[in-house]
Symmetry: C2
Subunit: 148 residues, 2 copies
DNA sequence: ATTAATTTTGATAATCACTATCATTATTAA
DNA sequence: TTAATAATGATAGTGATTATCAAAATTAAT
């Protein structure tokens, strides 16, 4: 997924839903597409505050919701009761996450086996599958070292 | 995992942590071990209220937390921002969940493939694995029918 | 059994992440 | 330029959960 693809996806969603363009929303979009890995609403809010001290947290929540609805972002909970977001790279295959219970570091992994398994479950249980999440919790190599 | 195993696990945890036994906690424990499938704190609370109209919701939250800490229960979020609990059957292999986005129904599934994949990821990423969650979201057969 | 130390409890305030409301401001189409 | 409508920031409200605290229950030691 290239940046211009995302930009199109963003603009199309706004047009298709009879929304108006806005400076704030564009700023949030630009900030988000530059992010690598996972982030929270608060991450974005504190980023934006640096250059736009008047922006409200509600606008950030609203825009992130819009970006999830438009398929630009995916939301995770990673076992916690709050949202973590990442760019929804529709070109790449879906991926799982290794989550360190100590430092919170997240490693992504790809697996064809999982992909196949999801399809098998779809057939076996007559489900119409939308998405899946595969999360492995443990201690990352770094934290294992510092534990000793 | 038999009932008496769970009871031992519960009693051991209380002893090992210098806690006192209590009628309320026992009532909650008895209620929970009878449950099949997944439940929320509120499910337990409203159950208990029927026979014990004075019980406080805080006690239910506290006890469920204790049961998770002792390994008797496992917590899930199923993509929502609240807790769902189930008995941690340590005899049976870990399992994944199919979650219906329409009616919320949850189907469990077992898969050796997943088990192997987790072990592979453990090696590949040098993780010390604690647990994992595999959640597939979609529409269940029943809801597919009623959609038409 | 009585006491003393400690834990548990229910009520409820506080917290956290998030959503709803609403008056004001911005955008857009005519 | 205007009229209609959407976006915004402030902030109140919400839902799930945790923290606090005085009173009650439990336990161990007398």
């Amino acid at each position: 997924m290239t940046l211009s693809n995302l930009k199109n996806q963003y603009n199309d969603y706004i047009k298709l839903n009879g929304l108006k363009s806005s400076k704030r929303r564009d700023l949030i979009f630009e900030n988000i597409v530059k992010k690598i890995g996972h982030f929270t609403t608060d991450d974005i809010y504190s980023d934006l505050l640096k250059t736009d001290p008047v922006i409200g947290i509600a606008t950030v929540y609203r825009t992130i919701r819009l970006l999830v609805d438009s398929g630009i972002l995916v939301e995770h909970t990673f076992g916690e009761k709050r949202g973590f977001f990442e760019i929804n790279n529709q070109q790449a295959p879906e991926h799982g996450h290794l989550i360190c219970l100590k430092c919170g570091h997240i490693t992504e992994f790809y697996s064809k086996t999982i992909e196949k398994n999801v399809k098998f479950m779809q057939k076996q249980h007559n489900y119409k599958i939308n998405s899946y999440k595969f999360e492995i919790f443990g201690i990352c190599p770094k934290c294992q070292k510092s534990e000793k």
